[in-house]
Symmetry: C2
Subunit: 213 residues, 2 copies
């Protein structure tokens, strides 16, 4: 696993984008592609692409180019698990509900196996066939169902305590939507999606884009 360890954060973040492009090429019936053609589509240079691919053994470029099938299969194997990732959602408010209904997660190999909330009015209801359970059952559920990822769509004030609970219970990674930087004593991978931060970056770009004109 030497090659994988050397992967920079920047390369890692490009991998899902590669998978999106390989999927599109496959769907369009394209079977071969060169690094320069791929680079043109993706707004990168051919040599950047070859360098990224070199972390994974190069994906067997031959003569005219890469086999789209090989690219697609390899990137799926790098990013996904054969049996899929199991996901629970904690917080069945507006955002949690929207995420539970978000088809793209399932399409990409992430299966929602449980939803949790503290609100008695929501407990027992289902979203897309998955039951909303009481947050009191969190540890029992995780003990009984191997859980890869917990999506935290919770009020900011609750997030830290719940994050610690799921990490202690054995969840392997956290997908956090609260506007805060989670730090846990029990170290597991955390991916923060800070929607307001992204919107503010866009606001900043708009302000300065206008000023430059």
């Amino acid at each position: 696993m030497q090659a994988k360890k050397r992967l920079s954060e920047a390369v890692m973040r490009r991998l899902p984008r590669y998978l999106r492009y390989f999927t599109e090429l496959k769907e369009n019936g394209i079977t071969k592609i060169s690094s320069s053609e791929l680079g043109e589509k993706m707004g990168m240079t051919a040599s950047q692409i070859r360098q990224d691919f070199s972390y994974f053994g190069g994906f067997g470029q031959q003569g005219y180019g890469y086999s789209v099938e090989v690219l697609y299969d390899s990137m799926k194997r790098i990013l996904l698990k054969e049996q899929g990732f199991t996901v629970i959602i904690i917080g069945a408010g507006n955002l949690g509900t929207a995420l539970a209904k978000y088809n793209n997660f399932h399409k990409r190999g992430f299966d929602i196996i449980g939803i949790f909330d503290i609100n008695p009015k929501l407990i027992g209801k289902t979203i897309n066939g998955t039951e909303i359970m009481s947050i009191d059952r969190l540890e029992d559920f995780i003990a009984q169902h191997e859980t890869d990822i917990a999506i935290l769509s919770l009020p900011r004030s609750e997030t830290k305590a719940i994050a610690a609970r799921v990490a202690n219970a054995g969840v392997k990674g956290l997908f956090n939507f609260s506007p805060m930087d989670l730090k846990l004593p029990h170290e597991i991978p955390i991916e923060n999606v800070h929607l307001s931060d992204s919107l503010m970056v866009l606001g900043y770009k708009i302000k300065n884009f206008q000023e430059e004109k």
Copy 2:
């Protein structure tokens, strides 16, 4: 505006995080902070922080440290608009509805002034007091209401055409949730939020975190 132009993408992406920390300091009644104390809180070095701040004239560090009030006011002025940013949401499905109800956007100075959908069953309903209008009224609405940002929470197949329409109508930036890289002939700032990509990066980290153990 020389200083602003030199800002790297990395520094720009840290600005909303600074604002979050300054807000928290202010809420906790802290009035002064040194760059090393701030660095410790944020997981950065004191010199990284001073360098970031130097793009904006340094924020007047004196003796023991920075005035939290000055930091907070300055960062708000850098990132936000006094009158707030005006935002429309296109696509009132699960995600669009959740975003329309997301309080953090309003708190941060982004006001939802219109919601659009193609579905006749949704048109005329309101979300958080904002009416859902027919997508046919998009251009008229934008002509009548200065619109800074369009949030695109649309099926992938519709996104490109709608993005071009709002950009042509004069919207100043796009916040795109479709799993695609938008390219527009009419160039305006675009911020992509690729939820499935982020989840896949987390999956990759989990796979490799386990393998490293």
